[in-house]
């Protein structure tokens, strides 16, 4: 037995309640699959806060500093050009390029970090084998439990009263 169980719910609210209950019961390997973002699930499943933003900020600042240094080097040392007596280190104009490249680097870092953090692209995942899982991208709200040895009947008993549409083990 693979241990991956899926419980389907009719709406996001009951899914959130089920996720809370499953976590309080101490089940492990919890996840949920929903067609749109359900922000309460982060708290219900005790998901860690993503650390993406500080990394993006760091990358953005580093790129901005690098581009500033590039402008400074080429304008002051590499190819000094006296234009109407203006200072060689024309910092206000260099800041435009620093800003653009900082934003670009931060966004590219975030984009790549998203793929590192999610493990995507990953075209094959056990959960896709579940019957009716195509609804998870449309109107199905699934709670996934990956606890070895947990029987569907026990999970169904735990979720009693929340009315899951189905509780099934995913066949590998």
């Amino acid at each position: 037995m693979s241990g991956l169980l899926l419980a389907e719910f009719r709406d996001p609210e009951t899914l959130v309640a089920a996720a809370r209950r499953a976590r309080q019961a101490g089940l492990r390997g919890l996840d949920a699959h929903t067609p749109f973002s359900v922000p309460e699930l982060a708290e219900a499943l005790a998901l860690p806060r993503p650390r993406l933003r500080p990394v993006m900020l760091g990358a953005g600042l580093a790129a901005a500093a690098l581009v500033y240094a590039l402008c400074w080097y080429s304008a002051v040392i590499g190819y000094p050009l006296n234009l109407g007596g203006r200072p060689l280190n024309s910092w206000p104009t260099f800041l435009v390029l620093s800003f653009e490249s900082g934003v670009l680097a931060a966004s590219v870092t975030g984009f790549l970090g998203f793929f590192l953090g999610t493990g995507l692209p990953r075209l094959h995942h056990p959960v896709f084998a579940a019957r009716g899982f195509a609804r998870a991208s449309q109107d199905g709200f699934f709670l996934a439990v990956d606890e070895p040895g947990l029987e569907p009947a026990r999970l169904a008993a735990l979720l009693d009263g929340l009315g899951p549409l189905s509780v099934r083990a995913v066949e590998p």
Binding site: A19, P35, P39, P50, L52, E100, V103, R135, Q138
Partner: protein, 450 residues
Amino acid sequence: MSAGPEEALLPRGTSYGALVGLVADPLMRRRAGRPWRIAFAVSGMLTLLLAGCTAWLFLRGIGILGNNTAVVWGFPIANYVWWIGIGNAGTFISAALLLTRQPWRAAINRFAEAMTLFAVGIAGLFPILHLGRPHYALWLTPYPNTQGLWPQWRSALVWDFAAIVSYLTFSLMFFYLGLIPDLATLRDRAQSRAGQVIYGVLALGWRGSARHWHLHDTLYRTLAAMALPLVVSVHSVAAMDFSASLMPGWQETIFPPYFVVGALFSGFGMVVVLAALIRWGLGLQAIITPRHFAVMGKVLLAGSLGMALCYGTEWLSAWQAEDRAEREHLRALFTGPYAPLYFAMLGCNLLVPQLLWSGRLRGSIPAVVGVAVVLNIGMWLERVLIIWNTLSHGYLPSMHGVFSPTLWDWLILAGSLGFFAFLMLGFARLLPAVAMHDMGKLLRRQRSGA
């Protein structure tokens, strides 16, 4: 606010599945109708026309255009500024409405973002088209070369290049990130093997995991917050192409905000036009409602008032500048060779949008769309006149000259419009024109509010 305004955004008693079907079915279950086929064929021919004109332009040089020694920028740079203005709005609208939690964002953000991508891409062509030696465009980049040369960082043109490249890359990532969950929906609804494989690969194996959504939300909101200053910087930099010069009528500090307001104004206008076409073409009357048009009508009205403030500032500072060239420029606006166009522009941008004060007209989709078309013509005239007026009478009277566009100028403009339509038509048939996952969130919000 009560649940009232949000209620009107979605049909009563709809379900999550019904919303997905409403958006996805036109792509997956229905064949393209005759109007789409005709429009696609015509826009495809215009795209070929653009390719042909570009080839001829590169072979013969910019002598085939109306550009002369006075008005060196002519049509191409005016078209560039117009297109990049339109391109500015999509990502801005999507990001600003996300951050301010506007419920009417969900129905319009996706195609507005697509509009941005296509418009910015087309805008980027024009500066290269007018170079005369387009193969030297790479001189804008700092690449290792045997001459030991560097780009001139103090030049606004170099900033412009950096801004466009950053913005286009950023917009592409923002668009794709929002699209991934919807690609998964299409993968799961596709009936043909090809559809499943293509959408499946593009969806990258998205399975709607709560962990992934958590990261997705964090990143998407962060990108939205970064998009706002980026958008403002892009059109400010386009304005600095002008205001960093020493020409009368250009060297004004009002230019960056003036261009940004104009960009949002014309971009919103284009969104209104596209919203009407997509609503009609894909049968999305239930989710792109008259209320959306009424709200966008208010934005257009605000944009028009912003433009009035900018024009007023321009006139006032030229009058107060005690500078002969500036005053000459101001006089030329109203009495010079292009004065009829200038009055037409003021009518399109300032007078016609005032119709939207009327709540009855804002409630009428044809009226809002009509105003949007008119103001886009007005904004195009504005871009053209900014260039023609200043360059036609600079400081040196012997260099005064009038610009008259040639057939090639018009053909390239028509070709760029056709290319844009071609891309939008392709987008409407291949990708969901409305963000389905955002609609799901909106429905949930509406249900919990009711």
